[in-house]
């Protein structure tokens, strides 16, 4: 079955072609089910490959399938090839599974939209590109998926292209991603100059010999790759595009900006774990940026009123967690959190989507309240998601986040503090959103209120599946005290070489005792519940308390509410300055200097010509005179020579 790994990306491609080219004649239902079916088919193939992989011995679970030689120029020979190993299988299953659920959800959600066909073909193209990204066996093919995913996010964010803000957001997303890809590209060039090949297996197996541990070269490669990751997964410097990406339809945000695309950066860092392990400095950089982003985004998330913006900032902060995990060397827990996050974040976005659907497009939480009676299913599934993300005990979020906090404590106390404070804020703003939308008194306008209705089953069933997953998802990672856990054992071998390098390098910290683990778990649950209580107090028991808090520190609130004016800063520093400078270049330099020089030559020649013209007076006598003068000169020359 592993031989048929190429089927996985092909299905969504076929779905894209069918919907794209022939979609005009199909009805909405057929288009939707073709799209969902294609992704579902690749999910089925993925699961079967997963089981086939399980049969193989843990050590040898890495199979390559080369299709054909794509680029062959000089000593560069890049094939179209797929790599099947635990990491890529998990990613494929997450992408196709969550993708299929979201496709089904969006059949209901996008009902009645004019660009239905265009939406589904773009969604399938996106899943195709994402699957190429995660299943590629070399950096170049991954880069193809990388940019393809960027393109699809541009198309889907800009889906409502009439709205200028939507197409602006799409353009911003693509450009910021492109800046990240610029770093990724340079990293790839460095890899090629050092290794002479792009395929993972060759690069990682030969890395320890070719590169010196902690040397400048390996640090440079890893940092450049990390620049690409920050661009794609919206970390500190290049995160501004994600909040604006909420302009796109909600299922798009669910799929792209929660579950799949933004995790590509984490996947890439995890895939290059060997390189990162050899460059401790860049590991710390990754961890620091991850932690900082987690905290920074959480603070902004607390003050937002638009429900999707809150979820967007929570995505950025959760991604920060994953990067922190990778930074501290716990790649397995990073990926585990990635999986659980995919479940509950997609769930939260889709629930927000169904709220928006019910409220006929209203997103501002201040105009919502007490919706739990009108939208029971959405309410319960949204609550499940919030419990999961906050990290309350039985839910998935608890296990993955706790594991990250555990490993970051091992690495350095500072990381643990960053993670803990961010966890408090996470549970606070998530429960704030729950209480503002579903509990408290209803602030819904009259005309919106009377046709508040629960979403059709086509939308609520996917919500329930994901709610179940975010409940069950964590069990895979229950830490059987002292041993690893199911998920860890499955994915462990992929990161074994990286762990070997890290343990070989750093002094081997002895595995902390069980007691410490239990205490840590208790602390993280406590943090989650504390956040819940504070939110309940501020938004249920005394609704006016948020205003009092704002009065006490208006300056800070304004700063955080306006997202630290980062967007405006970027525009001022980069966008406008380059545009002004290039306008100057065009007008001043190109038009005046170069063209001036060229036209200048022309005018000089003309001036010279007009001087000569004066000789042509038209009087016969002058001509005779010049003949005479000429004659005299010639004769005198002859004579006097």
């Amino acid at each position: 079955m592993i031989e048929l790994v190429w089927l996985i990306p092909i299905f969504p491609l076929i779905g894209f072609l069918i919907n794209g080219l022939l979609g005009r004649r199909f009805s909405e239902k057929t288009i939707g089910w073709i799209g969902a079916g294609a992704v579902g088919a690749s999910f089925v193939v993925a699961v079967s490959i997963f089981f086939e992989l399980l049969k193989l011995a843990p050590g040898s679970r890495s199979v390559q399938k080369i299709m054909y030689s794509w680029i062959w120029s000089g000593d560069l020979n890049v094939p179209i090839g797929f790599l099947v190993d635990p990491l890529s299988v998990i990613m494929i299953m997450v992408v196709s599974g969550v993708g299929c659920i979201i496709h089904i959800y969006s059949i209901g959600y996008m009902h009645g939209e004019i660009g239905f066909r265009r939406y589904f073909s773009y969604l399938n193209l996106f899943v195709f590109n994402m699957l190429i990204l995660v299943s590629a066996n070399n950096f170049l093919l991954m880069f193809v998926g990388w940019e393809g995913v960027g393109l699809c996010s541009y198309l889907l964010i800009g889906y409502y292209y009439e709205k200028k803000s939507a197409s602006d957001a799409g353009k911003k997303a693509f450009v910021v991603n492109r800046i990240g890809d610029f770093g990724f590209l340079l990293g790839m060039f460095l890899i090629f100059t050092v290794f002479g090949t792009f395929s993972y297996v060759d690069v990682f197996s030969v890395a320890p010999e070719k590169l010196t541990q902690g040397g400048v070269l390996v640090t440079l490669i890893t940092l450049l790759l990390f620049v690409g990751a920050t661009g794609k997964s919206a970390q500190i410097p290049l995160y501004t595009w994600l909040p604006d990406a909420m302009e796109g339809p909600t299922p798009v945000s669910a799929l792209i900006h929660a579950a799949t695309m933004v995790t590509a950066g984490v996947y890439m860092v995890a895939r290059c774990s060997v390189l990162f392990a050899m460059a401790p400095t860049s590991m710390t950089v990754v961890a620091v940026i991850g932690g900082a982003t987690a905290l920074f985004a959480a603070t902004i998330g607390m003050t937002q009123f638009d429900i999707k913006r809150v979820l967007a900032y929570s995505t950025i902060s959760q991604l920060g967690y994953m990067f922190m995990a990778c930074g501290v060397g716990a790649f397995a827990s990073g990926i585990f959190h990635l999986m659980t996050h995919a479940f509950f974040k997609a769930l939260l976005f889709m629930a927000a989507g169904s709220v928006m659907h019910a409220m006929s497009g209203e997103l501002d939480m201040r105009k919502m309240g007490d919706l739990r009676k009108k939208l029971p299913y959405t309410h319960w599934t949204y609550l499940f998601g919030t419990l999961a993300i906050a990290g309350i005990f039985p839910f998935a979020g608890f296990f993955s986040k706790d594991e990250i906090l555990f490993y970051s404590l091992q690495k350095h106390l500072g990381f643990w503090i960053l993670g803990a404070v961010a966890a408090i804020m996470t549970s606070f703003y998530m429960f704030r959103s729950v209480f503002m939308t579903f509990y408290g008194k209803s602030r819904v306008e009259h005309d919106v209120a009377h046709h508040l209705h629960e979403s059709p089953p086509l939308m609520t069933v996917p919500l329930m599946i994901l709610a179940f997953l975010s409940l069950v998802g964590g069990l895979v990672g229950i830490p059987i005290i002292q041993g690893g856990h199911v998920f860890g054992d499955f994915i462990g071998p992929v990161f074994a070489p990286a762990k070997a390098i890290i343990d070989h390098g750093a002094h081997h910290a002895e595995h902390p005792s069980v007691a410490v683990e239990v205490i840590l778990m208790a602390i993280s649950v406590g943090i989650a519940i504390f956040g819940l209580l504070v939110a309940r107090f501020m938004y249920i028991t005394s609704p006016e308390s948020p205003d009092r808090v704002i009065e006490r520190m208006p300056g800070l609130h304004k700063l955080v509410y306006n997202k630290y004016w980062i967007d405006e800063l970027y525009d001022l520093l980069f966008v406008n300055s380059i545009v002004e400078f290039s306008r100057l270049l065009w007008k001043k330099f190109d038009e005046t200097v170069i063209d001036g020089a060229v036209n200048g030559v022309a005018t000089v020649v003309q001036a010279f010509g007009s001087v000569l013209r004066l000789l042509q007076t038209g009087f016969v006598k002058d001509y005779a005179l010049s003949i005479l003068v000429g004659a005299i000169v010639v004769i005198s020359y002859l004579v006097l020579r």
Binding site: L628, I632, I635, S636, V639
Partner: protein, 171 residues
Amino acid sequence: METILFYVLAAVTLLSAIFVVFLRRPVHNVLFMILTMIGLATLFILLQAEFLAMVQIIVYAGAVMVLFLFVIMLLNLEEVSLPKEPRPLRWGFGIILSLALVVILFPVFGRFVPSIVGTGQPEGIVGNVSNMELIAKELFTTYLLPFEVASVLLLVAIIGTVVIGRKFTKD
């Protein structure tokens, strides 16, 4: 005696040439021009080129000058307000320029002429063959082609004159 004759004729020719150039009314110019032509013809005779003298008188004095007279009469330039001649300053400039030309020509004579002539003494033309016979023999042997070309040139000139002289019709 011969030198006296030369000087008289030279003076006459020069004077009439000056009158040709400096007199205002064109008729006077033409008449003095005819006088110069005749003066030159006599000088040719002095230089034993009788045929040329005769040709000079017939062609130049006879035909060309008559043509001039005819044109002046045809356009009755007398009444037409003759263009006022240039101010004396231009004349002065003119004279200086011409003297400059003469001065320049002198060294030419000095340099080239003696080497060719050497004696400065007029030898007699060989034998008693008449001037015309010599010219004819030379003309129709070595210079035959130029002779024919000259005839063609004249033909062209005639046609040109007829075409230019045609009545200016507004076609």
